[in-house]
């Protein structure tokens, strides 16, 4: 399957058949199953799904940050090189230097016993030739850039001396220290207040423009996707079930799962309609149903859905769906009968 989400120009990051499997005492569990997607230069791609859909593992797999006993296969092409096959020293140069990653919970992602200054400077030391005083100067600039007031005086502070939102800014400053060209953001706003969420998302978009970065944003929040992403890929049970431009997917979802996700988001201003909830729960990764993994929860499911797993295929330029009945789903629309 080669599901290039081609939008015309050459992608910055190209992921093909990425699979991540964990060996467990009860046999292998595939958390990410043959996932393919592209990220264009300067674009923000949203990776959307429920908890356990494999979106965070996908993100970690790109950087080979999956813990043992997980193994990653497939190809992650970055500037003509394959991150999956790359040697450790080469990978070290890419990590932090070209591709940066930020995590959901800054409290646990920042080392509690090191000053934030040191945590920025060690990144600079690994990827730049700046000397000690230049690194310090750059660290102050970075803290200033992400909106930390009185940056120069905060350099010797420890993470616990910052508030939650400020801590997330600090993490972004650390991650972006060496001018990466791709930012992998794993639910960067989930742990934050709504008002702080907006500020952090705006900061990420600003930095995207300033550094000319691409961003892969993992989130379960469709509001965040609508506000920040250019394209989105919806994940279910370790696979991408639908992808395309955010505007198109929101207007006309072709997968029943996407449709269900959209239907479960309250929309302000619109006519009052009943909120839709998706029946049932996502399957355990150790017991994914045969055929389409979504079939037990899908009102469009037929015999073929229980038998054959649909492949992700293009039905329009730049739009992909893995559903046997996607035209019927699209025809059903997003409006839910009251």
């Amino acid at each position: 399957m080669s599901a290039a989400l081609d939008t015309g120009s050459a992608p910055a990051l190209s992921v093909r058949d990425l699979s991540t499997t964990f060996q467990t005492p009860r046999g292998p569990v595939t958390a990410v199953d043959a996932v393919s997607f592209d990220v264009m230069p300067g674009e923000v791609l949203g990776l959307v799904g429920e908890s356990g859909s494999g979106k965070s593992v996908t993100l970690r797999s790109l950087m080979r940050l999956v813990h043992a006993p997980g193994t990653v296969s497939g190809a992650v092409s970055w500037k003509g090189r394959d991150l999956v096959a790359m040697s450790a020293p080469e990978l070290r140069k890419v990590r932090g230097g070209e591709i940066a990653m930020i995590f959901q919970e800054p409290t646990s992602a920042l080392n509690p016993v090191l000053t934030v200054g040191l945590q920025i400077e060690e990144n600079l030391k690994a990827h730049t030739s700046l000397d000690r005083s230049a690194r310090r100067k750059r660290a102050i600039e970075l803290l200033d850039l992400v909106g930390i007031p009185a940056a120069a005086s905060r350099l010797d502070d420890y993470p616990h001396q910052f508030s939650g939102g400020m801590r997330q800014r600090v993490m972004i400053a650390i991650a972006l220290a060496s001018d990466p060209k791709l930012l992998l953001a794993d639910e960067p706003t989930t742990a934050l207040d709504v008002t702080i969420q907006d500020q952090i998302l705006k900061l990420i978009l600003d930095l995207r423009d300033r550094f000319a970065m691409s961003v892969v944003l993992v989130t379960h929040d469709l509001g965040v996707v609508a506000a920040t992403c250019d394209r989105m890929a919806v994940m279910y049970a370790g696979r991408i079930v639908e992808s395309g431009p955010v505007v198109d997917l929101f207007r006309e979802p072709h997968h029943a799962y996407t449709r269900g996700l959209l239907g479960s988001v309250p929309r302000g201003g619109a006519e009052r309609t009943q909120l839709l909830s998706i029946e049932g729960t996502p399957p355990s990764l150790a017991a994914i149903p045969p055929g389409c993994a979504f079939n037990p929860r899908c009102s469009f499911a037929t015999e073929v859905c229980r038998r054959d797993r649909p492949a992700l295929a293009a039905y329009a330029p730049g739009r992909f769906v893995a559903c046997h009945h996607h035209t019927e789903v699209a025809a059903a629309g997003t409006a839910v009968a009251a």
Binding site: R60, M63, L65, H67, L91, R92, K93, V94, R95, G96, G97, A100, M101, F103, E105, S108, A109, L110, N111, P112, V113, L114, E122, N123, A126, H127, Y158, H160, M171, I174, A175
Partner: protein, 312 residues
């Protein structure tokens, strides 16, 4: 700033601790069965002699007065004279305690040198052969009593192989180190086992922490990640344990000194307790208690230095 004020506050806490130690030592020594007069004079002492000795030693005074004298003497650095050895307790302690401290320090050092690298190897090869062998070996070390380990080491490396002396303390500093090596190793083994187990578990807990992933995502070298990010965080709990174990180590030194015939404070303590040599027991107990308190202080300072959240 927070660090300095933490040290100052911690120093203040030392005052009530030391006061309490003084009371406890004074009371406990007087609760020992038997009395110094009969210990000096033997079983068939005449009452008149007992009275005379008690008066000489100030033991005929009421308890609060005795405590007052005790405090005044300590304040002036006078710990009294040994009943049996007829020399000042202060000079006895000055003579014997450094031997014990040297033994303990050496044991602590050996324990750390053994425990830290092996914990690291075991933790990074969790569940594999290296991990299981290291843990198995230390399990054996931990389950054997100190005196028994001492006797084995003494027999093999002292008596048979003749690599090390079988006892004594030597005359120069290097000679001291040479004489103390086997006893220090004896003392170190069980501490090393405890530290190794604790540090191994701590490293395993830290290695999967998200901040370690974040450090990897930054492209840092593994060695830097392991030392700065993993080991430093893992050591926080081990340092606390280490500090708490120093008291145990001093207690173990008493046995070790006996097995290896080392003229240290431990043996002096045993002899003095048997001889009801109150002033010596008191003085030694005080000195050891102060040393343990200072070790705790040092432990807290090191912990606060490792973990800035402590010094708030």
């Amino acid at each position: 700033m927070a660090f300095l004020s933490f040290i100052f506050r911690r120093l203040l806490q030392l005052i009530p601790t030391l006061a309490f130690i003084l009371v406890v030592i004074f009371v406990l020594v007087r609760m020992l069965p038997g009395d110094p007069a009969s210990a000096i004079l033997g079983d068939r002492a005449r009452d008149a002699d007992v009275t005379r000795i008690n008066a000489e030693l100030g033991l005929d005074q009421p308890i609060p007065v005795q405590f007052g004298i005790f405090l005044k003497n300590i304040a002036t650095g006078d710990l009294g004279n040994s009943i049996h050895l007829k020399v000042s307790v202060a000079s006895l302690i000055a003579d014997r305690l450094p031997v014990t401290l040297m033994l303990t320090a050496m044991a602590a050092l050996i324990a750390l040198v053994l425990a830290v690298p092996l914990a690291f190897v075991a933790a990074t090869r969790q569940g594999r052969v290296a991990d299981n062998s290291i843990r198995g070996a230390f399990q054996v070390g931990l389950s054997m009593p100190v005196f028994y380990v001492g006797l084995i080491l003494l027999t093999v490396f002292g008596a048979q192989l003749r690599w090390f002396p079988v006892g004594g303390f030597g005359s120069s500093f290097v000679d001291h180190l040479y004489h103390l090596f086997l006893p220090a190793l004896t003392l170190a083994l069980s501490l090393a086992a405890i530290l190794m187990r604790n540090l191994r578990a701590a490293i395993i807990g830290v290695v999967d922490a998200e901040y370690v992933d974040f450090a990897r995502a930054k492209g840092l070298r593994s060695r830097l990640i392991m030392t700065r990010h993993v080991l430093r965080n893992a050591l926080i709990s081990t340092v606390t344990l280490f500090g708490l174990q120093v008291g145990t180590l001093l207690g173990g030194a008493v046995i070790t000194e006996t097995v290896f015939a080392i003229p240290g404070a431990g043996r002096l303590m045993i002899d003095s307790i048997y001889g009801r040599d109150y002033p010596v027991v008191q003085g030694l107990a005080l000195a050891l208690a102060v040393i343990v308190s200072l070790t705790f202080l040092l432990t807290d300072i090191v912990q606060a230095w490792l973990d800035p959240r402590v010094a708030r």
